[in-house]
């Protein structure tokens, strides 16, 4: 990574060579490194996804063998979740939270450097596990025991990588909590804070709460694999389903870790381009907190097929359905913000509007999956694959792109190309739907997920999905062009780069100077 980052940022600001990036404690440098890292991971995970789609283009085995196919699906999930989406949001937090609350930097600047530089070794371990004897882990990103206990040493590398990334996330989260709580400019009360800071504050608490749980789960697998324990082995008095309970106690809040900051970004963008204040600010804050709290009480909806007692199924079904209420409030608030606004659709707004539209479709399928009897039919099918790609790609990823287009002027000092931004958006949303919409049909009709080959009646929708996936993958290359052009030059961005953009980040020049708010601004 060290060889890559300085090259790509050449000429950004003050010179310094490799050592500058290795030793930097500047939140902007670190934010930039997080984002470049996550984009590289995004492309790596994307290559795995396209290999999967190539294999699934038609029935029969053509491209890869089943064992390697399972490695691909597993690593695609792990890389996208832990390498792409989560670090990307941390990058946004690093860049934007100090600028939004009027702080000079993150609270623990040196720890911030350490949180980032843990990630490249973890990524090397994870991707390097493909070359280990036996290949990468093929147990699915959920790493269910006892299958994960059967795996080769690629599994141990993945476990160690997860440990390192977990440490990185926890340190990043502590940094964000402390920064938001202690370093706000005078006059910026909690309820005046930009919503992005609020969603990240709540997300950071979720991270601190659940990353240790994941670390515990994978450590128990490690012990079962090598130290003769039987946490998940019934023959030794353990329980394989216990792993799933522990994993999903992490896993469900993790889902919200990946979407709450996206809600924050969208809540910054919609008011700007509606030229109207955010509707229901307080209810947005309460809704975010409700989602976070509920997220700890719904984990077993991932496990309806394990055979819980009726009371357990009903509890987790009701709790899960309840999440639709605060999520609905958010969508209604965004729509109410747009209502009777003065809308314009520059790339950030296009992405944000696209986010609301497509993410909500993922919300509907989530509600359908919440109904336990229906979930029995669609659990572990392509319906679920469609559902979580609607919320993670069209949700988290689209919001990340929205945020990137929104703040690129602040980061680079140049406006991103409006034409390319719109092209990127339209290609992405069209190909996204071509890829993932047919998967609903596949899942309903009975195609299981994580299979390298399928029955003939699934052939046509799989072919459509594969074509869409390649279109979607190639569309993402447009973003590289946009960013490189934006760094190199283009229309100069004003301090307030978008008409009627509100917030402290728009009071500093574009690009933001290396050090900002050395003296705290006073809010109101």
């Amino acid at each position: 990574m060290a060889a890559v980052t300085p090259d790509q940022l050449h000429g950004h600001h003050a010179p310094g060579g490799v050592m500058r990036w290795l030793t930097t404690t500047n939140h902007k440098d670190i934010g930039t490194m997080y984002m470049i890292f996550s984009f590289i991971m995004f492309l790596s995970g994307g290559v795995l996804a396209l290999t999967i789609r190539a294999e699934l283009f038609k029935p029969g085995l053509q491209v890869v063998q089943p064992e390697f196919f399972n490695q691909l699906t597993t690593m695609h999930g792990l890389i996208m979740v832990f390498g792409a989406i989560m670090p990307a949001f941390v990058g946004f937090a690093n860049w934007m939270i100090p600028l939004m609350i009027g702080a000079s930097d993150m609270a623990f600047a040196r720890m911030n450097n350490w949180s980032f530089w843990l990630l490249p070794p973890a990524a090397i371990l994870l991707i390097g596990s493909f070359f280990a004897p036996g290949g990468a882990t093929a147990a699915g990103w959920t790493l269910y025991a006892p299958l994960s206990v059967q795996m080769g040493m690629g599994m141990d590398m993945a476990i160690f990588a997860i440990h390192i990334m977990g440490v990185s996330s926890i340190m990043g989260a502590i940094n964000i909590v402390v920064t938001v709580l202690n370093m706000r400019a005078p006059g910026m009360t909690m309820m005046k804070m930009p919503l992005f800071c609020w969603t990240w504050l709540i997300t950071a608490y979720l991270l601190i709460a659940v990353m240790p749980v994941l670390a515990g789960a994978v450590t128990m697998i490690l012990a079962d694999r090598h130290f003769g324990t039987s946490f998940f082995n019934a023959a030794g008095g353990g329980d394989p389903v216990m792993y799933q309970h522990i994993f999903w106690f992490f896993g469900h809040p993790e889902v919200y870790i990946m979407i709450l900051p996206a809600f924050g970004i969208v809540s910054q963008i919609i008011p700007t381009f509606s030229r109207k204040p955010l509707f229901g600010y307080a209810s947005m804050v309460y809704a975010t907190a409700s989602i976070a709290i509920l997220s700890f009480a719904v984990w077993a909806h991932h496990m309806f097929a394990t055979g819980m007692p009726a009371a357990g199924q009903l509890f987790f079904m009701y709790a899960t359905m309840l999440i639709a209420v605060p999520t609905g409030v958010k969508v209604f608030n965004w729509v109410a913000t747009m209502w009777r606004g003065s809308l314009s659709f520059e790339p950030p707004m296009l992405w944000a509007t696209g986010f609301i539209f497509v993410f909500t479709m993922g919300g509907f399928t989530g509600l359908i999956c919440a109904i336990a009897p229906i979930d029995i039919q669609v659990q572990d099918t392509y319906y679920v694959v469609a559902h979580f790609h609607y919320v993670l790609v069209a949700g988290s990823l689209f919001a990340l792109f929205a945020g990137a287009y929104y703040w690129l002027p602040k980061w680079t000092g140049h406006m991103p190309s409006e034409f390319l931004g719109k092209l990127h958006f339209w290609c992405s949303i069209v190909f996204f739907n071509i890829t993932f919409f047919p998967m609903h049909f596949l899942g309903l009709a009975g195609m299981p997920r994580r299979i390298p080959d399928y029955a003939l009646q699934f052939a046509d929708f799989n072919a459509i999905a594969s074509v869409g996936a390649f279109g979607f993958g190639l569309s993402q290359l447009i973003f590289i062009v946009v960013v490189v052009k934006c760094i190199r030059g283009g229309e100069r961005a004003a301090a307030r780069s978008w008409e009627s953009a509100e917030g402290l980040e728009w009071t500093v020049p574009s690009p933001a100077p290396y050090h900002t708010f050395e003296e705290a601004p006073v809010v109101r």
Partner: protein, 285 residues
């Protein structure tokens, strides 16, 4: 996005109307052959319709704003940013809608869990990568066999044309009588598998070291196909489930035939079971 919306609406509508038009489900859940699967289908249709209404409502408003409240059309922004009555309404109304959804779902969950008083009990054991069936109680008690994929390797590798039931065919299907309550006991020998027959509305994980149960009562004779639904290693995609539902007479004949076969091989285990099935007395005949 307007186009995407229309496509989505069309697809939702067609998924409802085409449900019963084709032998293979294309847009919707497979044709149900048990009461539970029927209830699940109805619930899914109800959910789709409710979601469609909400979809049209929310995005009707949003796209109205997108097309009409544009700066380029001279729209001037209003300045409201809260409305307690509206905010309470759009919190309470969804709760009421959810209650309406939860009611039928609760009844079905309770019905699905009622495995009492079966006519026949069959234990299914998941192996990497096949299923073993043991008839434990009821007509056919004592019959046991393994059930593995029967699709030839050449079809998978593409050197032979693929058959109609490609990857959904086995050497020895599970055989059950029509109209009888069948209780399935599920367990596994190595890792977690999942026994899934979509037409029955049954999906139950098979967990090594534990026994879970599920039940179905097939209303129609026929052959019903499903897959292992929990990632279980290399050949996860190659361990289908086939259930043959027979009339009472045909089932009795099948049972007699199996018993005769078992009697013919009294001391030796049937060849299909020779290597991996756990030892047990095969001579019930």
């Amino acid at each position: 996005m307007g186009r995407a919306g229309r496509i989505a609406a069309l697809c939702l509508a067609s998924s409802v109307s085409l449900a019963h038009a084709e032998p293979h489900a294309r847009y919707n859940l497979q044709q149900p052959v048990t009461g539970i699967a029927e209830q699940i289908n109805d619930m899914h249709t109800l959910m789709l319709v409710i979601c469609l209404f909400i979809f049209v409502g929310v995005f009707g408003v949003m796209f109205w704003a997108v097309f009409n409240h544009r700066k380029s059309k001279g729209a001037v922004a209003a300045h409201f940013h809260e409305n307690t009555a509206v905010e309470i309404a759009w919190t309470i109304i969804p709760v009421l809608i959810l209650l309406g959804m939860a009611w039928p779902a609760t009844k079905t969950v309770i019905a699905m869990k009622d495995t009492s008083n079966p006519d026949i009990t069959v234990k299914a054991t998941g192996y990497q990568w096949k299923w073993g069936y043991d008839y434990l109680q009821g007509e056919g008690e004592g019959i046991r066999f393994l059930s593995a994929l029967s699709t030839p390797r050449e079809q998978i590798e593409g050197s032979a044309p693929k058959g109609d039931a490609y990857l959904l065919e086995v050497d020895h299907p599970l055989v059950v009588p029509v109209g009888k309550k069948i209780r399935m006991l599920l367990t596994a020998n190595d890792v977690i598998h999942s026994w899934w027959v979509p037409a029955f509305g049954v999906k139950q994980d098979a967990i090594p070291g534990f026994i879970r149960d599920a039940w179905f009562r097939a209303d129609k004779e026929g052959v019903y196909r499903g897959n292992c639904a929990e990632l279980c290693g290399r050949d996860h995609g190659f361990m289908p489930i086939v259930v043959q539902v027979l009339s009472a007479e045909k089932y009795a004949a099948w049972v007699a035939e199996q018993k005769a076969k078992a009697a013919a091989t009294v001391s030796a285990a049937p060849p299909a079971e020779a290597d991996s099935a756990p030892p047990a007395a095969p001579d019930k005949g």
